[in-house]
Amino acid sequence: MSAPILATDALGVRYGSFVALQDVTLRIAENSVHSIIGPNGAGKTTLFHALTGRIAPSAGRIALAGRDITRTADHERVRLGLARSFQVTSLFPTLSVRENLRLAAQGKTPWQALAPWRRAEANRPALAMAETMLERLDLTRVALRAAGALSHGQQRRLEVGMAMAAAPKVILLDEPTSGMGIDDIAAMTALIRDLGRDHTVLFIEHNMGIVMNISDTVTVMRAGRVLVEGPPARVRDDPEVRRAYLGNMITGDLTPARAHVS
């Protein structure tokens, strides 16, 4: 692999005496679709928190495009090209859908927003990005509706859209299809595949169908460590993985349903 766009070295996170992550070393290839799977409590979301700067790691290092970001503040990482969506929908509920997206787009140049006299229209790129995202997410119809009033599926799309609006190099999606119905899942899968074309996508998923179908690489985690990593086919057949998932709820199909399209 050429220089990875995102890399961690022996990353560790502990809450008091509880070890949430231990010795996690990852190499995420540029423009790849990389999924993180594992049973509940494996530390997947904690990994995301550490990668995005929401929590400070207790050990190890993180590098984005070769640059050490271990101690960089969360909002700074967005500027450097790292954005995420959340497992539990986290929007601005009283603001309109369009405004949610505009804010997300503006977040790449936040210091512009600190000037109290500038009107929002002054930042045309942010407005344009919001419009583009509205179309791409099929949310134009509800552009003026309060984000808190959207249906669950629409909210999940907006959730991902807000990460996309920052035009990041690496986008982290935490269980993007959680709680979605069949139709919404299909739309979301298409969206992620589409994203993978010109972004690096790192996503956490429980739906094995999606994982096996669109990932270039799969990392399996258990109890805060990396268990196995490799292409979907290899991971699927790994006995350790089967053992890790025994007794845990998984959705979707473990057998190959469609040929892997890159």
Partner: protein, 351 residues
């Protein structure tokens, strides 16, 4: 459909109307000036409460500070009034930024308690450094400003002076609220975590909000000192902070005109009632309870309901009753009222 009453021009129009109506219906120019002065302080408080979601018990610090700046600047340093007023803005911003910077390091109730603690500490400082502040007596003999050769000693002349400044700062605060900065504050209020996650240095924004709020509050404090001729210790008292918050919530934290409404209602009621019944605070206490139970949008909410009745539109029913509805005709960041049912509703045309 953007609610008519929330359009910025309408808001300013209401403020202007209030400024023009007060001299016609009131006898006391002093009380009228006080309404505008407190209106400013309450609007500044609302910038923190309604727009940023920060409940600050420290607004009295900045109000009192402004009064002291007026006293020291005009009497001891002999500064011209405009210079003194600019100084009050600057010092208010500085002190508020410092207080805010420390206080925001904690969240929720602890943040509130910190501002409360600061309020008490500053009161103590003012009391102790009586050489500077006059201690219990305060600073006396604060003169009215001199404009075009005349001293503004007549109550209504001073009112005119205050009115112009009030409208200017009101418009400035509107601009701030509608700016991309103000809209980011709303996002921080709604979901601070996400605001940080999408790239905003949340602390910097909160400190900036404090600075602006402090500046305007101190300015109001300076105007107040010139109005009553004294910079009293009570202006920096915890009670002032509490009263400013009460005025903010009574008026309604939905927009800036509501702040003027809150200040006006409180001061007029206090003036009218305290003459008839010294225990009028009992009624205020009951009003606060009523507002909590039935009128979370404050007096402004009453107006909204009245307008809704008249125009037979559904009253605003947004998910957060105490939140401002900030609108911008060009970009319309905030949602329309939630429809009663989705069926049969034509899709909104994007503006």
């Amino acid at each position: 459909m953007i609610p008519l009453l929330d359009r910025p021009l309408v808001q300013f129009g209401l403020a202007l109307a209030a400024v023009l109506i007060l001299p016609l219906v009131m006898r006391s120019g002093t009380l009228a000036s006080e309404i505008l002065i407190y209106g400013l302080a309450v609007a500044a408080c609302n910038l923190l409460l309604g727009y940023t979601g920060l409940l600050s018990f420290g607004q009295g610090i900045f109000f009192g500070l402004g009064s002291y700046v007026a006293g020291l600047g005009l009497v001891r340093a002999g500064l011209p009034a405009p210079v003194m007023l600019l100084l009050s803005l600057a010092l208010g911003a500085l002190v508020a930024a410092a207080v805010g910077w420390v206080s925001i390091r904690r969240q929720g109730v602890y943040f509130v308690m910190l501002t409360l603690a600061f309020s008490q500490m500053f009161y103590f400082l003012a009391y102790t450094f009586s050489g500077l502040t006059g201690g219990d007596n305060g600073l006396l003999d604060i003169p009215r400003p001199r404009l075009a050769g005349t001293v503004l000693s007549d109550p209504w002349t001073y009112y005119a002076f205050v009115a112009v400044l009030f409208l200017g700062l009101f418009a400035a605060l509107q601009r701030v609220a509608l700016s991309t900065f103000g809209r980011t504050l709303l996002a921080i209020r709604d979901n601070e975590g996400r605001a940080g996650a999408i790239g905003y240095p949340v602390r910097a924004f909160k400190v900036a909000a404090f600075a602006i709020s402090g500046a305007v509050t101190a300015f109001a404090g300076a105007l107040h000192a010139m109005l009553i001729g004294v910079a009293p210790l009570s202006n920096i008292d915890y009670h002032t902070s509490e009263t400013l918050l009460i005025m903010t919530i009574v008026g309604g934290s939905a927009n800036l005109f509501a702040s003027l409404l809150g200040a006006g209602a409180y001061l007029l009621a206090a003036d009218a009632l305290s003459a008839i019944w010294p225990r009028w605070l009992l009624l205020l206490g009951l009003l606060l309870i009523v507002i909590t139970l039935f009128l979370q949008r404050g007096l402004w909410g009453l107006i909204e309901h009245a307008v809704a009745l008249v125009t037979r539109a559904p009253p605003p029913d947004d998910p957060a009753p105490d939140r401002p509805v900030v609108t911008d005709p060009a970009v319309a960041p905030v949602a329309e009222a939630l429809p009663a049912s989705d069926a049969g509703r034509a899709p909104e045309v994007a503006r």
